[in-house]
Structure formats: C-alpha cells, structure tokens
Symmetry: none
Subunit: 469 residues, 2 copies
C-alpha cells in the first residue's frame, strides 16, 4: 500500500507516543472514581478521529459511560460499510505494586509498550485510527464507508449495550463489523478468531434448615447443606465431561471438519499450555475434543465460587444449613442464555437433593457468536492478515465472551475479528504490554482489511446480503 511503510518508518515513534498519551488516561470503567477519566479517554479518541477527517461524537445512554461514534461515508451507498468495534475503557490495575512502571505512565522497553490498556484495547483501536487517518491523508478517501463504535464499559461487562444499541443502532448500520479486541494464537502464528463464547452465570443458594445444627446431636440424620450442594453440583457433568442438563446441546452448531482441521493445525504443546495455565498438571475436559476445541467451541461449566458452613481457622462441628455456589456456563453458537436459564432452573429443581431447597438467581447472560470460516468477510480478513503478517492465518475461536453477538444482532451484520494481541500481553494483569511489531503489523492489517473488503467480489456479496427495502 502506497506510503504505509513510509508512515511506519517516518512516523512510527509519533504513533506510539500518541498511543502512550491515550494510555496515560486511567479510564477504569468499573470504578466510579475514574468516571471523568473515562470521558476524557473518549474525548481524546473522538478528537483524533475528528482531526483525521471523520465526523465524530460521544454517545451514551442514561447511566452508561460514553462511547465514541465516528463515521466517514464518502465511499457512497453502493460500497460496503464497515463498523470498527472496540473499547477505550480499561481493567483495574491492582495489585499496583506488581507493575514495573506505573500503569498509567506508559514506558517503552525492549520493543514493547507497557501500560494498562496498551493491548486491551487502546492499542488495537489506535492502529485502526492510524490506518484510517493514513488513508484519508494520503488518498483523500477510504475504499469503503467506515464507522467506529468504541465503547466505554466493556471491562464492566457492557451492562448497557442493549439499551445503547436500542437508542443508537442507526448510527452504526453496516455490512460487516470489524472487531478489534481479540488476539492471535502466538507470535509467528497469525490467526483469525471466528467466534466468541457466550455465558450464562448463576448463583445457587441452597438451604436445608433454618439454622446450622450440631453435628453431634444431628449429624447423620439430617440433610447437610454443604453435602447437598456437593451432591447437586456433582451431577452437573456426566462421565464424559458433558453437561448433564437435558436439552443443553440442542442448539449447539457442530464443529465442521474444516474448522477441526484448523484447530488441529494450531501448534499446541500441552506442557507449555499447562505452564501458561498456572501450572496445572492435567487437562481434563469433554471427551472427544481437544483442549483448544473445548475452550473455543464447546459448552463448558465452571464452579466460580463455593461457600458453606464454617470457613475460619480451626474446627467447628456444625451441620451447615446453607450452601452457596456461583456457577457459570460458557455457551457456543447458537445457544441462547435466555433459552438455557429455564433448563438449568428445571434441572436444579429436578436434582435438588432430598431436604434441600435451592434458589437459582440469574446473574447475567451473553449470547455466543460465530461467523463461518468461509464467509466472504472472513476470507477477506484472512487475506489482509496474510498480507500484513506474511503468513496465512489459521481460523480459531475465542473462549471469552463479549458484546459481539449483541452488536451483530442489532446491526444485522456479521463480525470479523482483526486483532493483534499476543497471549503474553498480560491483559487484565500487572505489566500489561503490547509488542510494537504487532502494533505495526496490526496497522498494516487494518489498512489491508479495508482494501480487501472493498474488493469487487466481497463488496458485491456484502451489498447483495443487505435486507431488501
């Protein structure tokens, strides 16, 4: 692309300095202390998009943090419209003493930019900004229409995304959503995410009696809430590691042979993976699927928290009257938490041990999303990655959950994922960082993605897929 290498060569330091300036704003969305900083962060980005030649503004709904909207529609209605999605808010920074430089005083060391938000997600939005700015500056136009939706509360679980989209979806109408908030499998192994898991999170409150009982006076003849919770949770999975709730898998889209080939092609060293996973010594899971398939493409359940009875030092001889658990399910396309919650509630009712009353409280649901690997937009994104990174990417899936499906449904467009994070970026942890070579390759991929999505076959397919009227 004309001038792109020259941009990096001549202005690379300026770009990193601008990103560092943005990262210096502590836009922590989960802590009300930083409400004004989240707004400053949005203003910073909107100002840069405006200066680049896009219309830009801050949007919100009551009670939410501001999102950044921007658009350039100069390619005309016959060209595809791309909405670039990401977020400008960041995770908390504790334990702050574990950071080598203060989290909001960005520092470049050994080819990495260290700062909270450097990778997740300011760095990944910044290279999208830089890509669009470069094209407008050098060519006076973009190959497609481009919109930005950069939200301010993704790290808080996007609690207002549905209300936001209900109010503002018209500003973000598009043919493809380019998600710029995911990572690559490994440095040197470029990959392209095709789906993210959903989630259904519950709290179980189990009660067997009004008060704890003396285990000498009653133990052996009365229900024990802790043991009842153990019994209940013990039935959640069958011997093959599958979730034992009737109907749970009804809407699961099976992995295709082509997808399984892609998963199998990813280099996977169980020992290295176990080391990354906090030093686990085994990789148990659903029979018949590899660890990567289990994480990305299969329904799973985790007990996230568990408490009952006496948990202090020493001993206390009680039969606990109450037990509590936080249980969350990761979902895959096309599972829907709204459909599954009643199945789980019914299962709990059917499996509650004798003498145990169990209350189920839903604590949030996120729908999974999936764009088939042979979708024209995925293929276009794949070509962009190959041009930027020099290697054809492998298609994979991300185990985490975000608002992508909500966006996709509200905007009526599929998601493609152009991300350049690495697993070693330490997102959500101390010493978060972004590798500058990944940043610059990501910038290239962002430019090439717009180019590839404007290609006549892709653009034609995208425009043809628009709803009539």
């Amino acid at each position: 692309m004309v001038g792109l290498d020259s941009l990096v060569d001549r202005h690379g330091e300026e770009l990193v300095a601008e990103l560092a300036q943005w990262c210096a704003i502590p836009s922590i969305s989960t802590d009300p202390t930083y409400t004004a900083d989240v707004r400053r962060s949005a203003e910073f980005l909107a100002g840069r998009l405006d200066a680049a030649g896009l219309a830009a503004d801050l949007l919100d709904v009551p009670g939410s943090a501001p999102a950044v909207w921007a658009e350039w529609l100069g390619a005309g209605p016959g060209a595809p419209t791309i909405t670039i999605y990401g977020h400008h808010d960041v995770q908390p920074v504790d334990p702050v003493s574990d950071w080598d430089n203060p989290p909001f005083e960005p520092a470049v060391r050994d080819g990495w930019l260290y700062a909270r938000g450097a990778s997740d997600d300011k760095g990944q939005i910044h290279f999208q900004l830089a890509a669009v700015r470069h094209l407008l500056a050098t060519q006076g136009r973009l190959p497609v229409n481009v919109r930005f939706l950069v939200e301010g509360e993704e790290e808080a679980g996007s609690p207002n995304i549905d209300a936001f989209l209900a109010a503002h979806a018209g500003r973000f109408g598009c043919d493809v959503i380019v998600v710029s908030d995911t990572g690559m499998y490994a440095e040197g192994v470029p990959s392209l995410v095709t789906g993210m898991r959903g989630m259904a999170y519950f709290q179980l409150d189990l009660r067997t009696a009004e008060v704890d009982l003396h285990s000498g006076s009653f133990g052996g003849a009365v229900p024990n809430a802790a043991a009842a919770m153990v019994e209940l949770l013990g039935r959640l999975r069958d011997d093959a590691g599958r979730i034992a709730i009737p109907g749970w898998y009804d809407d699961v889209v099976p992995l295709t042979a082509a997808e399984r080939e892609q998963f199998a092609a990813l280099p996977f060293d169980p020992v290295e993976f176990a080391a990354t996973a906090g030093g686990v010594t085994a990789l148990p899971g659903e029979a018949g699927f590899s660890p990567l398939e289990r994480i990305g493409a299969r329904p799973t359940v985790d007990v996230n928290g568990l408490w009952s009875g006496y948990t202090g030092p020493g001993s206390k001889t009680i039969v606990p009257a109450q037990a509590h658990a936080k249980v969350s399910f990761r979902l895959v396309a096309d599972q829907d938490p709204a459909t599954l919650a009643p199945l789980f509630e019914q299962w709990v009712a059917d499996n509650a041990p004798l003498g145990a009353e169990v209350k189920v409280t839903s604590m949030g649901g996120v729908r999974p999303c999936l764009t088939p690997i042979d979708h024209p937009a995925n293929l276009a994104a794949g070509r962009a990655i190959e041009r930027a990174f020099g290697v054809a990417p492998l298609f994979t899936r991300e185990g985490g959950s975000g608002p992508e499906r909500a966006l996709s449904d509200a905007l009526g467009a599929p998601c493609v994922y152009v991300g350049a994070m690495l697993p070693e970026d330490r997102i959500h942890a101390p010493n978060e960082r972004f590798k500058l070579s990944q940043y610059f390759a990501g910038l290239h991929a962002a430019v090439y993605a717009l180019d590839e999505l404007a290609g006549p076959d892709v653009a034609g397919a995208l425009v043809a897929a628009r709803p009539a009227g």
Copy 2:
C-alpha cells in the same frame, strides 16, 4: 432432700444471675483472641468452688487452656469418689447478627436463659456447683468424695486432654466419672446417655493451579478446584448412606437387641424432630437404622465447611485454583481415630480427581465411649433422674463427642451422664439457651446422684471394682 426446694424457691434468681455472670465471659477456646477470657472463665468457677468449701485450682499443660480442678474428700477412702466432668469454654458465635441478644450479654426470656454457653456447658456445670455448695452449706458434708474436672478446650476438641491427664490424672482419681455435658431426649422424657460418639476431624486443602484462571480463556480445558472438591466429596458415601472408605466399619460394636429396644421406646415423631432440627424437610441417612440410632450409635460424616473461588457479591469469571473443606466423622465404639486417619488419607489419595493435589490435615480425634446400660453406676444415675424428674429415664446414646473415653481410660473409671440439656437448646448455634426448669431439675438430679452413688450396694460395687494395691 432437705432444703433443696427452698434453695430453688428462695435463691433461684441468684443462681441464674451467677450463671449469667459466668456466661458473660466469652471463653471461646478455638480463637486465640479470647485466650485471656478462657482464663477468666476458669478463675470465675474456681473462685466459686473454693468459696463453697472445696479445694480448687487452675491446672494446665504447656499450650493448653486452663482447666479447673477442685475436690472435697471428706467422705473418706472407704466411700466412692466421684469426678464431675464438664467444660467452661464455649463455641464461636458467628453469625452474630442472628442472635436476638448479644451472645455474651445473657438475657432471660420466657423461662429461658439466652447466652453462648448457657446450656453447653456452663449451665450444666453450674448446677453441679450449686448442688455441692448446697449440700456443704446445709449438711457440712457430701455423701461421697467429689472432684471436679472442668476443662477449657472441649469445644476445640480437647486437643491436650491426653497430655493433661498424663500430667494430672492423680488429681482426679475416682470410681465413677459423672459427665455433666449431655442432654435429655425431650422435656418430659428424661433419658440417660450411655455412650458418646468419637470424632475424626480433617481439613482438606485442594489445589489445581498456582493462580485462579480466566474462565473464558481456560474454562473447560483445565481442572477446576471447586469442581474437583465436589467430585472428591461426592464419593464419601455410597448409595446406602454408608461411608465409602475401605475398612471404616471394621471396629464398630453392633447395637444389642436391648439397646435397640430402648431406642425404639423413645417417642419419636419425625415431624417434631424435623422442627427441632431447624425445620429440615427430610431425614436422610444410613439405610437400616432409625434416625436416633444413626445419631447415637452409627458412624457418620459431615461436611462442616466448604470454600473456594469467588464468594463476594456479583459475578467473577474465574476457574478457582484452590478449594478447601472441613470434613468430620463421628465414630462409635470401638472405632479409633488413630486407626481411621490413615484410612481416610489413603482414600483421599486414591480418589483425588485428575489434576488435583489434596493435602489432608488432621484437626483432632476423639475416641468414642460406651458404658453398658446395666452398669451399677448407670442404674444409680437412673434412680437419681427418676427422683428429680418424676419419670424413669430411657437409656440412649449421645451423638456428640467429648473427651469421656480419654478420661475413662486415664482414670480407670466408667462414665455416667447426668445432663439436663434439651434438644431445642440450640447449642453451637445462634440464640443458645437453657430452660430454667431443666436447670433446676438438673440441680436436683445432681444432688440425688451423689446420694444414689453413696447407696450401700452401689458404693460397695464401685469400691470392690477398684484395682488391687
């Protein structure tokens, strides 16, 4: 007994006030915060015994809480010597918000004294003190020699009882141990305990990784510590409700036909029992035994506490790296915790789920004990109960555990159990209480027990049973 009714009529309020004063001392032995209070509690009792005319002192061994020793040996060597056993320490009080009055600010309501320790065990030791004090005050003597051993760490599982007895057994030599730390079957159904269960208490610390993991990035492909603990604990019992540890029942003395008849003669209304048991709605337990037999005479297991992962408000999407449980077994004659602990440890090693490392920490063992229902001291105690409560008692067994077997072995004497607690006393739970009518009837029974044990046939049998030399 001369003057006994008059004592209750004229000084009943003073007795209750004195007991309340003792209960105001927070002698929680399991929490080092209260070490000084446990000592104050011992001093309170020793002072009252001394004032009553007994020699009294505090005794301990290094690292232990102080026990109270007292004695009056004026009946001479030809008369039986009775050692009255109980404890002055109390259980923790959490959840303290469930108490109607603060646990260490005793209150009398509707004929009950409410306070931690009111029933277990200060109330039951206090009527023994009142009985002895009354006899010495009104008659200048007791019908038998009397010693007191009131320990300060029973609620901690009497961890130092063996060392204590090794150091001090000579101070407590006796022909019968009168245990004043058990209850009656029901108000209006006096009963006499003949045995207590033993205990083996353990903490399990299970670990699957060095740190909690993100359930999106890893969930489904790595071990979950909470789920692993659920799996492990779920294997503890078989489908018949029996403990599934190999060898666990090898030393269990079967119930005799006579004992089962006594158990069957106790009036048992499942609905009423369930109401007493905190409103439980089912009575699960070992197949083939009645609820009362399960509690008194069969090995059982309870999960006393359980904790893992995130237990705060809201949701956190982690795969917990650690899970912890407190698990205790009640034992019956002649099971021995020293024999059983290695069986449990082996079972844990054999059943630890894949990827889970489990540390087993023994937190105390108590041997079970049993005095045959036709022992002369049991029959004498039965007559005392009949005189005090107006009804012949039924013989039963207590599900709780204490150091009785250790005492019995160290002192070479059998235990009889003169207790007046009721099942609705809420011992170990919020709003512990002692019914004042039971307190006063217990005081009568304590006086009559000394009288009955001094009867010529019983005294003769007890003295004759002394070892030669």
